[in-house]
Amino acid sequence: MSDPAARDAVTAAFRDGWATVVATLIRVTGDWALAEECAQDAFEAALRHWPVDGVPHRPGAWLTVAARNRALDRLRRSTTEAAKLQELALLSEPADGLADGAAGGVDDDRLRLIFTCCHPALAPEGRVALTLRTVGGLAVPEIARAFLVGEATMAQRLVRARRKIRNAGIPFRVPPEHQLPERTAAVLAVVYLLFNAGYTVADGVAPIRGELTAEAVRLARLLARLLPDDPEVQGLLALLLLTEARRPARLGAEGEPVVLEEQDRARWDAAAIAEGVAVLDRPDG
């Protein structure tokens, strides 16, 4: 297998699988920092191995197992009692619960991750940062640049959020039925805020900001798939898609805003419009 093809496979696996790998490790070990570091290591290992050994049959499962083994290595070197308990939890987790394809398991873990990142007991800026890092897989410097703060500030924000989750006992789970509407609203607020942060700035940092809107759309799509019966979720996805579709035509050659009537509609993203309209047309949407 050629190098670029293997690289593309890793990139694709990262897009599809990052959140799953992190979420699974968090569920089993309860350690957010460990989960992120080991997921990072697993993707780096994929970059080394896949060009040589070929892309595995089930990339997601390969990555999750690699991340788990990495976590076991680290925990074994630690002597604290908490580490021993985490090691036991990892060892007793059936392979099916770790690998992708287990019935409902992957989606459940990702939903748990999203809801926990957007828990109302976290500071709003912490929710946004944690969602981008843990669900979206963006690197700390990228997130810092997108929000125009220093890397150290952003890293600190993430540390504080993870610490609050652990110390305050914020559970890693999808909220029960009676809390779901309220908590889903909190998740949607984060997605909407992300999109706005990417949409409102026009110049200078535009490429990174564009990534924010794309990430918001990706999250909305994921939520729409995970919560297919929630009309609020479907509505937000449609709104983001239809707004994002007009982005290429929003600014003129000098970066000046172009009003809707004068926009070159040929530059609108037809695929995004079609997807957005299809979401709105769903009979139950």
Binding site: H119, A121, A168, G169, I170, P171, R173, Q179
Partner: protein, 116 residues
Amino acid sequence: MKYLMLVCVDPALDQADAGTDAGTDGEVPIETWVAETDAAGTRVLGDRVRPAADATTVRIRGGRLLVTDGPFGETKEQIAGFDVLDCRDLDHALEIAARHPMARHGYLELRPFWVE
């Protein structure tokens, strides 16, 4: 997990209203809340405390013991009582706190116990 729940008075709200919402929007009397949480084993301990005027603050600065009259904060909000809750997690504690009548007439602050 254990949480210290501080029951605080919001001076901006008229305390005379306390209890008048009972039954209309799901508010329960404090006696019900205590009975429920005690029965469930969620409430480890709890009581009312005397107002801030009767508080004494203790600190040592520069090796000297300073004992001052009044609460530690300058805030007008006052701690009226406390409960020690033993809950599964924060979501559980939030539900217990939301059912306390002072969630409507003041506010509740949840502090997890320090665990190493």
